[in-house]
């Protein structure tokens, strides 16, 4: 391929030389040039180059080059007008140059852009789309950021999409599209997943991604598995675009699983033409950021002593129990580091008219700042499209991924006390007291929490064109995940001491497949009636197998395989589900002016009760491009005006596999020598699909051909939301899963994209804005379920499903040093007299923000381009980990926040922290731990520099881009941290937050 290219280049060069010679003779100048895209430096073919004021026009060739012969005055003062679909038009003065390099900048979110609307039909022009779909291109996604998964990258980029931030590597991320459309799962002791999945449906090249969930194992299984992020199987570099389907018109073709919105990921495909190779490397560091300030050894000693004195110990005993006052072990520094980030990727693509391919390979190595936490991924992806005959086309994609991850939990939740040494004098690890609290350094050295696995996402599709407008196609895809989690707690430290070493191995296999066959008919009648009709059937199946091995009492401490354990046990679990669907979509437009979209889908699934296991979801939408009306033509400033409306339903069936059944579980101990079984759930044949009805009104406005505004108002009503229903004890069960609640999300999405400046200095600004309000409008339960583990969530009529439910703190009583709370009637009561039954608690705030979004600025000048991402969030509340600041409750074996220094000491003290005590009653869901999470964050700054051609030409036409990137650079919080103390800024993340700085280089051949 390379040699062929060289040959072609030589021939061209010879012809060129001859041509130039001829040109000089005729006193005309030959101007040559090339046009490339700013976002990836790729040469653009088919770009129109026009000499202004003349009819001289040409198009760039397949290699993005053009030449034109001009007379000498034209060559001096002429202006070239360069235009290309999807890019900003540029006017370039020739200024007697003979070799001109023109960089075109892509226009974001214009109506001429092509949008992937779903995985069943071909991309549409944005103008044709009636539903609310937001698209993010690879460039907008800024994949060079040191972020390991694309869901985290979406933060702030799409109006109405909220990514709940997480500081841990490779764990599942919560995404809320237009608010939370499922009830918050409330964990109880023996039921794990009590609500439908609140996550959007992710579809990669037509294959839905299987979410890892717990819940269907028997109680005996005792699942302590750490889950991985299911989206982490895709390399952000492979993404061509992401479409977020927000309303019913867009999403109801996915029917029963589309209630939380759908995120469609389309990967890059090979293009016909010369082989293109891209190589990239980037590297960086992670630095601890906004760390929690802990007590130092001396402060700790003082407080511990005071605690013991408060408990009535003698000063001598207190001094003794408080330990050393002259040791200060910096545990944070010892267990954290400057993490690193390394990414190498390459891709190769090309092909001819009949066959195109793209292959990519990438390696990602990322170290978190907390030791014992890192992530290694290797991604491979091969896509081949083949025109087998003039009518038959086949596409194959295969994308294996390998993941290795270490995720040691170093502290439990709070660090160990500071006034003990890290090591004994002989160099061994110091152990605190009676081995109750592990030495984190011993954990790092001796324990294991290691994931090793892989995933395979692949699909094959065939498309046969029967007639020009009539195609049938069939597609089969799989999503396979295999993961092995090794947990080991060594007998040499407190974690595994009593068990003589303890190991668990979880072996998980998710296997799912999807297959659909469909027919598509897209005629244009009488040139003005355009139809696009798709109908098909789909089968899907998922199965999950889980195997757990467990061992304790290891014969020799360094051998951790289960066969070395004196006592071993194992358990396995398997679950399957299947569904079947018939779907259809019909698009019609009249003269590109009036648009109608109808979609529908019939789903039947194994998941639900026998009486109600099928459902139909449907939607309709209409759009009107006002500016295409003849009476509206030639408006000076308003170049686009389009209004859209849609209405329809979507569902949610992701509840676990057998929840509607009455099931028996076996008790292996049995009774009187006989195996026994007990009903673990009672049948509820009426358990059915959650149904959400979505209404959307939208408008797209283009002003001065520079500013594009998209605004949508919506309402989504979730009926029959599933959660646990309390049932009368007399019915034999405490609760049953049932459709018990209705919930409503109302809101407003807004995004504006502005070309502030065009020309050599190009400046675009994108602002996204999402406002959402959630309310549970009815619940059948007579009393509210409450779950402390999910941010003190509650299921209660009249408030949001993401509400934080707790007690209003009334400070510390100066006389007694005890905490006080407001009771139901608003009077202040001391903590020991507070009625803490959940019915007496208050609505304290909402975990999710009222409004949130991003401000993205992009500046480019010559080869430089600068992207600055600002994210903001207003009105969310955050309940922080109370264990950091626990009134001295675990002061005997854990360190505490420096805020504890402000404790109450003697009557009359006006203090923010109560008297140190281990026995005073304690309220975890107290407004004392509630912070307003209103912030502005400088989340990312990237500087790109495309090295000018003249430097790289000698290297054989390589285009080189270098870039530098900083993420998580700066926070502004509305609620400030007190001086020298911790506030939300520090407390926000339990897993230490990091700032990253990376640089990288990218070369294209």
């Amino acid at each position: 391929m390379r040699s062929a290219g060289n040959l072609r280049f030589c021939v061209m060069a010879v012809i060129f030389t001859l041509f130039c010679a001829a040109a000089v003779a005729q006193d005309t100048r030959i101007i040559k040039g090339e046009v490339l895209a700013e976002e990836d430096g790729q040469l653009l073919s088919g770009v129109t180059v026009l000499l202004k004021g003349t009819s001289t026009a040409m198009a760039t060739d397949a290699r993005g080059r053009f030449n034109v012969s001009l007379n000498s005055s034209q060559a001096k003062t002429g202006v070239l007008v360069v235009s290309f679909v999807g890019y900003a038009k540029r006017e370039i003065k020739i200024n007697s140059r003979t070799d001109i390099r023109i960089v075109l900048v892509k226009i974001n979110n214009t109506l001429t852009d092509v949008v992937v609307t779903n995985s069943y039909s071909r991309p549409k022009r944005k103008e044709e789309v009636v539903g609310s779909i937001a698209t993010v291109t690879a460039k907008e996604l800024q994949t060079s950021r040191p972020i390991e998964s694309l869901d985290k990258m979406l933060e702030g980029l799409v109006a109405g999409v909220q990514v709940e931030p997480s500081s841990e590597l490779g764990t599942p991320v919560r995404i809320n599209i237009r608010g939370q459309n499922s009830l918050t799962p409330l964990l109880t002791s023996n039921r794990t997943a009590l609500t439908t999945s609140a996550q959007p449906l992710f579809i990669i090249d037509g294959v839905p991604v299987t979410e890892q969930r717990r819940g269907d194992e028997t109680i005996a299984f005792l699942n302590n598995e750490q889950l991985l992020n299911p989206i982490a199987g895709i390399n952000p570099d492979d993404i061509e675009s992401i479409s977020v389907l927000k309303d019913a018109s867009a999403a109801s073709i996915y029917g029963a699983n589309a209630s939380n919105g759908v995120i469609i990921i389309t990967t890059k495909k090979g293009k016909a033409g010369k082989t293109k190779i891209n190589l990239g490397y980037s590297s960086g560091i992670n630095i601890p950021f906004n760390r929690i300030k802990w007590l130092d050894g001396q402060q700790y000693h003082g407080l511990a002593k005071e605690l013991y004195l408060n408990e009535g110990r003698s000063p001598f005993d207190a001094e003794l129990l408080a330990g050393a006052s002259d040791i200060n072990t910096p545990w944070f520094e010892l267990t954290n580091r400057y993490g690193s980030f390394n990414n190498v990727d390459m891709d190769m693509s090309g092909g001819n008219d009949n066959m195109q391919y793209r292959f990519s390979a990438s390696y990602l190595g990322q170290q978190a700042i907390q030791k014992g936490n890192d992530l290694t991924k290797v991604y491979l992806r091969l896509g081949v499209d083949n025109q087998l005959t003039s009518k038959l086309r086949m596409g194959i994609t295969l994308a294996p991924t390998i993941t290795k991850k270490n995720a040691l939990n170093v502290y439990g939740e709070v660090p160990i006390v500071p006034n003990i040494p890290a090591y004994n004098t002989d160099g061994s690890f110091y152990q605190l007291g009676t081995l109750l609290v592990p030495n984190p350094l011993a954990i790092l050295a001796q324990n294991t929490a290691y994931h090793e696995g892989g995933s395979l996402n692949g699909n094959i599709n065939l498309e046969y064109s029967i007639l020009k407008n009539l195609r049938v196609s069939t597609s089969f895809g799989t999503d396979i995940l295999i993961n092995k989690l090794n947990l080991f707690e060594s007998s040499k430290n407190a974690t595994g001491f009593t068990k003589g070493g303890f190991a668990q191995i979880y072996d998980r296999t998710n296997f799912s497949w999807i297959s659909f066959s469909q027919v598509n008919w897209s005629p244009v009648l009488k040139k003005i009636h355009q139809f696009d009709v798709t109908a098909g059937i789909e089968l899907q199946s998922q199965n999950t197998k889980l195997l757990r091995g467990e061992g304790s009492g290891f014969s020799y401490y360094r051998l951790n395989e289960l066969s070395n354990a004196q006592s071993q046990s194992s358990a396995s679990s398997k679950q399957t589900s299947s569904s079947y669907a018939v779907y259809g979509q019909a698009l019609y437009n009249y003269n590109q002016k009036y648009f109608i979209t109808l979609s529908g889908r019939y789903d039947a699934a194994s998941v639900f009760g026998t009486d109600v296991n099928s459902t139909v979801n449907a939607s309709g939408g209409a759009g009107w491009t006002v500016t295409k009306e003849p009476w509206f033509k030639n408006n000076k400033w308003l170049n686009q005006l389009r209004v859209r409306a849609s209405y329809g339903t979507t569902g949610n069936s992701r509840i676990g596999s057998y929840e509607a059944r009455g099931l028996y579980e076996f008790n292996n101990n049995g009774y009187n020598g006989q195996v026994s079984a007990y009903p673990s759930s009672t049948p509820n044949p009426n358990l059915g699909w959650e149904k959400s009805t979505k209404l959307n009104f939208g408008v797209d406005i283009g002003i001065f051909k520079r500013i594009n505004i998209t605004a949508d108002v919506y309402q989504s009503t979730v009926a029959d939301a599933i959660s646990l229903l309390n049932i009368p004890a007399e019915n034999g069960f405490p609760s049953v899963l049932a459709n018990i609640a209705t919930m409503r999300n109302r809101g407003f999405d807004f995004s504006i994209n502005s070309q502030n400046m065009t020309g050599s200095l190009n400046w675009t600004t994108t602002v996204t804005f999402g406002f959402n309000k959630n309310i549970i409008t009815s619940v059948k339960n007579r009393s509210a379920f409450y779950s402390a583990s999910e941010n003190a969530s509650v299921l209660r009529e009249g408030i949001s499903t993401s509400a934080i439910w707790g007690f209003k703190w009334a400070g510390v009583n100066p006389a007694t040093g005890k905490e006080q709370f407001y009771d139901n009637s608003g009077t202040i009561v001391p903590v020991d007299l507070l009625d803490i039954s959940m019915s007496k608690a208050y609505y304290l705030g909402d975990r999710l923000p009222k409004l949130q979004g991003g401000i993205i600025n992009n500046l480019s000048y010559k080869g430089f381009s600068l992207t600055v991402n600002l994210l903001y969030s207003v009105g969310g509340k955050r309940l922080i980990n109370y264990r950091n600041d626990w009134n001295g409750r675990n002061l005997d074996n854990r360190n505490q926040s420096v805020n504890l220094l402000d404790r109450w000491q003697k009557p009359g003290d006006v203090a923010s922290i109560p008297r140190l005590s281990r026995t005073t009653r304690f309220v975890t869901n107290s407004s004392r731990y509630l912070y307003e999470d209103t912030y502005l964050k400088l989340s990312n700054v990237t500087l790109n520099y495309a090295v000018p051609k003249r430097y790289t030409d000698k290297l054989g036409g390589i285009r080189v881009t270098v870039f530098a990137n900083g993420t998580n650079l700066f926070y502004w919080y509305k609620q400030k941290s007190p001086a020298g103390r911790n506030g939300l800024k520090e407390y926000k993340f339990n897993f230490p937050e990091a700032q990253s700085f990376t640089w990288g280089i990218r070369a294209s051949f």
């Binding site: 269907d216 028997t218 299984f221 692949g458 094959i460 029967i466 009539l470 069939t474 089969f476 799989t478 297959s515 066959s517 027919v519 059937i537 089968l539 679990s573 398997k574 399957t576 589900s577 299947s578 569904s579 079947y580 018939v582 699934a605 194994s606 596999s657 057998y658 059944r661 009455g662 099931l663 028996y664 076996f666 008790n667 101990n669 049995g670 009774y671 009187n672 020598g673 006989q674 195996v675 026994s676 079984a677 007990y678 009903p679 009672t682 509820n684 009426n686 309390n726 049932i727 009368p728 004890a729 007399e730 019915n731 034999g732 069960f733 405490p734 049953v736 049932a738 007579r782 009393s783």
Partner: protein, 497 residues
Amino acid sequence: MKQLIKIAGLFFLTVSCTCSRRSRAVAGVLIKRKSVFTTIAVILTGCLLFSITSCKKFLQQEPYNRISVADIFKDMEGARTTLAGCYDNLKETDYYMRVFSVYPEITAGNIKYARTSSQLLFNTYNFLNTPTDNELEGFYRLAYNTIYRANNIFDNVNNVADANALQKNRMRAEAFMFRAMAHFDLLRVFAQGYGYTPDASHTGITIKPLNTSPTQPAAPPVSVKTAYEFITADLDSAISLYGNSAAIYTSGNDRGWFSQDAAKALRARAALYRHDWPKVISLASELISSNKYPLITNSAYINAWKGKNILTESIFELVYGNRTGGSLGDYYNPNLSLTGYLATADDLLNLYTAADVRSKNNLYTSAIRNNVTYYFTKKYQGTSDSANNLRLLRLSEVYLSRAEANAASGNFAAALTDLNLIRKRANPAAPVFFTASADTLMNEILTERRRELCFEGHTFFDINRKQKNLVRTDCTSILCSFAWPNDKFACAKPVTP
């Protein structure tokens, strides 16, 4: 590799869906007409037909970790595990394993705490249970859950393919036993005694003759009279079904499973509670004269209670099998410092003469806690652990019930014979008890019941049904004594929040 084969297989499956034989045949005919549209329509319709017929099966996914109700009752091996599961429920800590067994002891004044904090059933000891804060809530739920399990058996027993009619009868008989027992136990805790109103029309409990949809509201409680009618009808059914049944279990000790005699013993107890004296006498006599359950002898008495022995006089015991620990005995075991704190109140200890085999020095172990000597019953003394069988139905109770029924019916001689049998068994040297006073006799029978059946879950229920005043002297409760009648004789029913 296996996965790859699977993928390939599934792909062909899908293709075969599109080209299933039926649609291909029809399509073949139509292709001849060269109507492309029709062909596609036919292929799609074919797929649809295929899906409607075969996808029903495709959508039927049976769980692997658990088993559906319909499935477990398909065969005998599955069906009998659901019965064993009912016995499991009785062994739960909120039922006989702890709460329900301790309830009538701690309220009656047989027990005092040998520690001062975190005491089991402390609110119950103080009669502070309320509908929303109720230490018996777990028991309430478990009893109804047991009824649910039993009703599931009624609903499905006919589907057991490999069970013969006799075995099905046995399963029904057992289910009747559980349903009756759970209702009876609920009634004993949560309702006043039968004679509280002359016609027993006072409030009893909700009865569940069949399982209802889980989301339906609970039926209101029926009167005590109706409840007893329901319970005795179930027990009568059980007795008659046992008489025409065949064994279903393959393992374990016979006395660990309910039997016709167990049904009779429970039926006799229910008859005693509802003042049906002839029934008590006739059933008790049947059991006694069968000679299958000889009374433990005086010499064997103390050791007989040890561990997992089956008492000679036991009609039914909740057996422990190989399980160790986590038993009712842990609370009466002075060697367990964490749980062994249910000591014996002097009120009870003072009822025995020294020579009585059940007295303080014979059937009790002493232990010193905080410089105080406490006595703990040996009825739950273990061998290596305190995981003892729970003796739920034994002949001594049957004798005493017959004595009581005879005394109530005026047959003093018969009553005195039975009473003295139990007295003399405990202390062969004891003088024969005689009285001509009905009251004295009845009181002595009651006292003997307390002496003999203490720690086996009777005393408070006996006080209640015999309409006696509660008197606790060796007592630290905020409410040690109260006269009958009193609301506190019936525990407040927990309300589902």
